[in-house]
């Protein structure tokens, strides 16, 4: 049987509107106390609270999405819309920088052409992929950590740097779950958080 609450009962409406957050402990102290006080003397609202858990179960099961879209395809499409030259804001291109960049491009083009000519007719699996390496974790080290200590720790855990440092001094690493756990326990590490949802590789 459903419980229909007439809208003129403002206190019931106010309490029942808060029940989803009350059940999750997401109300402030004052509101939590108000709801508790009301529930003490209101059977109808207690019934509504009792229905909250089954409702969450229903929504969790029936509302689960069978598929979540292709992340990499979506990202590739977005890359095509992003303007790389627009950032970072506030920095000015110097003529000499443009010249140096042009020289670097020419050098890279030359090396690439030479490599193409010198390269073997076959290609190993390790060289076949051109997709960017995804980072597994974001890590921050204690200020003053030496390069040697950092290098030894990463080597010991089979970790490699994907990008960094960020503005806040964080590094994006490729590392497996065991290595991440070891990094987290290392005294020179102040933060080690996984970036990928689900179990680490």
């Amino acid at each position: 049987m459903s419980t229909v609450i007439p809208m003129e009962h403002d206190e019931h409406v106010a309490v029942q509107a808060l029940l989803p957050w009350y059940a999750r402990g997401q109300l402030g102290d004052a509101e939590m106390a108000d709801v508790q006080r009301h529930l003490l003397h209101c059977q109808a609202c207690r019934n509504e609270l009792a229905a909250e858990r089954p409702m969450q179960t229903l929504l969790n099961v029936a509302g689960a999405l069978p598929e979540g879209g292709d992340v990499e395809t979506g990202l590739a499409k977005l890359h095509a819309r992003m303007q790389p030259a627009a950032k970072p804001a506030g920095r000015r291109w110097m003529p000499w920088a443009l010249g140096a960049q042009g020289a670097a491009c020419a050098l890279l083009l030359g090396l690439w052409l030479q490599a193409r000519q010198d390269g073997p007719d076959y290609q190993g699996l390790s060289a076949a992929g051109t997709a960017p390496v995804a980072a597994d974790a974001l890590v921050m080290f204690k200020p003053g950590t030496s390069e040697q200590a950092l290098r030894e720790l990463l080597q010991a855990q089979g970790a490699s740097v994907v990008a960094g440092p960020t503005e806040t001094g964080a590094w994006l690493l490729r590392v497996d779950a065991r290595g991440l756990a070891a990094l987290r326990a290392a005294p020179i590490v102040t933060l080690a958080e996984p970036l990928q949802p689900g179990p680490a590789r």
Binding site: A62, G69, E167, E193
Partner: protein, 207 residues
């Protein structure tokens, strides 16, 4: 309905990151990189938010073709306007707020009928064929109930039940007073409660 225990157990066993994404500190560190124009940081932030935004926009818009476009419109704003995030709210509140406006705007622009097949049923290796049929029927009924709600009401339900947001945070995302969020939740919850009673049959069957 014997499907409940196995499915519930599977959800409870899922890691916290799968629903809530990375921690706020990690996300802020990535945003700092995005402000400097670092593509790698942006790509990581995109991957962190993609599942959460996809689920939010799927339930908000219910139009499969438009979801990816709205999601990418959202993340493009994050890339182009990262400097405008002032830290007064959580980063997730800011990003979901952008997604909410993009989703509503696209809904009003396209004015398309709801796509009843927008959620293809995945092969679930857990329950058997009969249980899968029950699950499909259950999802169908929930879609009908959610379709009766306005996008604004669906957003409140989605953000509360699936993204664990408090009502104050939801008010920031959808850009309305907290009292309006509570009112929307009251009506949405009452609609879903009718559905629940109908499905449960016996008191406590779903608990």
């Amino acid at each position: 309905m014997s499907i409940w225990p196995s499915i519930r157990k599977k959800r409870e066993a899922a890691p916290a990151e799968s629903r809530g994404g990375a921690s706020e500190a990690v996300e802020l560190a990535l945003l700092a990189g995005v402000k400097l124009g670092r593509r790698a940081d942006f790509d990581t932030l995109y991957r962190v938010y993609h599942p959460r935004l996809w689920r939010f926009l799927t339930h908000l818009m219910r139009q499969s073709e438009a979801i990816e476009e709205a999601l990418n419109d959202t993340m493009l704003v994050v890339w182009q306007r990262a400097d405008s995030f002032d830290g007064r709210s959580k980063l997730s509140t800011w990003i979901f707020g952008i997604a909410y406006r993009k989703g509503l705007k696209m809904l009003s622009r396209q004015d398309l009928p709801m796509d009843e097949s927008e959620q293809p049923e995945a092969a679930d290796t857990g329950p058997g064929p009969e249980q899968q049929l029950n699950l499909m029927q259950l999802r169908g009924r929930l879609r009908e109930a959610m379709a009766d709600l306005s996008p604004e009401h669906r957003a409140v339900v989605e953000l509360c039940y699936f993204h664990d947001m408090a009502y104050g945070e939801i008010a920031e995302v959808v850009g309305c007073p907290p009292e309006t969020v509570k009112t929307r939740m009251f009506y949405a919850r009452r609609r879903l409660r009718l559905l629940l009673d109908d499905l449960a049959g016996q008191p406590g069957e779903l608990s």
